[in-house]
């Protein structure tokens, strides 16, 4: 399918360009080929960026690609991967979920409360996921049924969820001591930590849902042309609601990984996760206008952002430069998507 569409791109592009230019100059085809290359790059911006970063960092510091460092990078990227996948579903419908990180914080606090109350690990984990799903449902209903702009709704829940987390926890972190959770954050199969395996399994399921189910097709149709989707009877409001629920559920799962990693449920802001989840989606070549999305793209985007921070740390660059570099990379990626067609 990819082959067909690229070939289509090639023929469509050259014919329209040929029609625009009256005299056919021999230089045209090569320039067209160059532009095509750029548009291909845009689709693979994250992968190209990741490879470039790996080459640079490895040449500057040979420990970058050591198994130990790869393993820690993968573990560090797990939560971001999970959040970015949720964000991808929302962005695919031309929406945005600014509340993912706060939802994760709230879910972590709920996890802590249930665990501290002595209800055991399974129930605590379930409670965290349900809490995330509830926030997602509120987002979804307000956006789809309430017809309030996604940006405003999720900005509101961003604040509300982190506020709720502070209220519920009274601003104090709850220490979670649990052997299975410790295992989740430290155990591994080869260089793949359990948390990464969780993230990759989620990515696989998400890929199947997006490309192999009716729901996934309807997500892309809703984002691509909601009116047309509606005309064929696709319940676009329901689809819009569900993508926020998915994002919320994944924020809930992210909170479990976060609690496992930190060893505590704390009402911290986690703002970086929000920005990076959007950044990973943009890096992954997902159109912010909706209708075009992949799962592998944002996953690679999340890996890239993690590798960037990890590499800079390895090189001894001050932490203060990390947000700056992330910002530059994201804007560069967004610039590349201009060539996407």
């Amino acid at each position: 399918m990819t082959e067909t569409s690229t070939r289509e791109t090639a023929s469509g592009g050259s014919t329209s360009r040929g029609a625009g230019a009256a005299p056919h100059t021999p230089a045209r085809p090569s320039r067209a080929a160059g532009l095509r290359d750029l548009s291909n790059w845009a689709d693979w911006a994250a992968l190209v960026g990741l490879i470039v970063l790996v080459v640079i960092f490895q040449s500057l510091n040979s420990t970058f690609l050591s198994p130990g460092n790869i393993q820690s990078m993968l573990v560090a990227s797990a939560i971001l991967i999970v959040l970015a996948i949720g964000q991808t579903f929302v962005v695919a419908t031309a929406g945005i979920d600014l509340s993912v990180a706060s939802t994760m914080t709230l879910a972590a606090v709920v996890f802590g409360m249930v665990f501290t109350a002595g209800h055991g690990l399974p129930l605590s984990m379930a409670a965290a996921v349900v809490a995330g799903a509830m926030v997602g449902l509120v987002n979804g209903l307000l956006v789809a049924r309430g017809r309030i702009t996604d940006f405003i709704v999720t900005l509101g829940t961003l604040s509300a969820a982190s506020g709720l987390a502070l209220i519920l926890s009274d601003g104090k972190p709850a220490t979670i001591i649990s052997a299975p959770l410790l295992k989740l954050s430290t155990g591994s199969i080869g260089i793949f930590g359990y948390s990464v395996i969780v993230a990759l399994v989620i990515a696989l399921i998400a890929h199947i849902v997006l490309f192999r189910t009716r729901f996934g097709t309807h997500v892309l149709a809703t984002g691509g042309n909601a009116e047309a989707a509606n005309a064929t009877g696709v319940r676009t409001k329901r689809v819009k609601t569900w993508v926020y629920v998915i994002s919320g559920v994944l924020a809930g799962i992210g909170s479990i990984l976060l609690v496992a990693r930190v060893g505590a449920a704390e009402p911290a802001a986690n703002t970086a996760f929000l920005l990076n989840s959007v950044a990973a989606v943009v890096l992954g070549g997902v159109s912010l206008f909706g209708g075009r999305a992949t799962i592998i793209g944002p996953v690679i985007g999340a890996l890239l952002l993690t590798a960037l921070v990890n590499g800079l740390t390895l090189l001894g660059v001050s932490q203060f430069y990390q947000p700056l570099s992330v910002g530059i990379v994201v804007v560069l990626a967004a610039f590349l998507t201009r060539f996407q067609k």
Binding site: M1, R212, T232
Partner: protein, 271 residues
């Protein structure tokens, strides 16, 4: 002029054949103070192209929106295929066998041709409790649907974004005709097309009719209406003022009926 054209003894709207596919009786619809449809009666026969003409704002689109379940009439009745219907949604109309080809809004550009053809009618196969898309089956079936088009056949794996206007319209029509539809409603199917593409879409419409599909066609193009249709309904200011068998009328009469230069078949109408 008025004297030369013979007025039918019985107005067409009263002359409903017993096996009419679609029979609209006295339908009215108001949006607040605006009376978009007033006591509209018309019908469409099986295996025919039925045209609806009228000026902008005459109520053509509102009428077909009532038929296709987007709007619900305030008064009046719609009989389809021998049964009284009360569609509450386009889906209900579709499951009854009424497909609508909208002017421009019907395709998702970032999806492929086959995905659009099967949008919301995806073929799935169950793997345990999970239902996954049967992409192969859909592609194969899409290939079959598209290959019957007279229009230069688009690749089913191509994104709709890459298609020309005529190809897009062909895909829309194909989608409407491809599933067990009894009536295809087309709202200005050639409005955005060039001359050649219009000719091809017209061929497609004729072929669908020849294959036994019933079509309701809204058009501003009188030549097209006279060429394609078997019956014409004229709307003016929310009313269906006249109906004619196309063979028994001409462009001049239709224009006169549209503009109101000639009174229609309605007794109470102020000419």
């Amino acid at each position: 002029m008025t004297e030369t054209t013979p007025t039918p003894t019985i107005p067409l709207w009263q002359d409903v054949p017993s096996d009419a596919l679609l029979d609209v009786r006295g339908v009215s619809l108001a949006f607040g103070q605006v009376r978009a449809l007033r006591d509209v009666s018309m019908h469409a026969r099986r295996g025919e192209v039925t045209a609806i003409v009228g000026d902008n704002g005459a109520g053509k689109s509102t009428l077909i929106r009532c038929i296709s379940g987007i709007h619900k009439a305030d008064e009046g009745s719609i009989d389809f295929d021998g049964e009284r219907v009360h569609f509450r949604s386009p889906e209900e109309a579709r499951s009854a066998g009424i497909e609508t080809v909208h002017q421009n809004l019907a395709l998702v550009e970032d999806l492929t041709v086959w995905q659009n053809l099967f949008l919301n009618r995806e073929i799935v196969r169950g793997i345990g409790p999970v239902k996954l898309l049967d992409r192969g089956a859909m592609r194969k079936e899409a290939e079959r649907m598209v290959s019957s088009l007279a229009v230069n056949v688009p690749a089913v794996g191509a994104r709709v974004r890459r298609l020309s206007g005529g190809q897009r319209q062909a895909v829309s029509i194909c989608r409407a005709a491809g599933f067990t539809s009894k009536l295809i409603i087309m709202d200005e199917p050639t409005a955005a097309l060039g001359v050649q593409e219009t000719a091809r879409v017209e061929e497609l419409i004729q072929r669908l009719r020849d294959e036994g599909h019933a079509i309701v066609l809204i058009s501003h193009n009188f030549a097209q209406v006279l060429k394609l249709s078997d019956a014409v309904w004229v709307m003016r200011a929310g009313r269906c003022v006249a109906g004619r068998r196309t063979a028994e009328t001409d462009g001049d009469e239709i224009v006169a009926l549209i503009t109101g230069a000639r009174a229609g078949d309605l007794a109470d109408e102020p000419a």
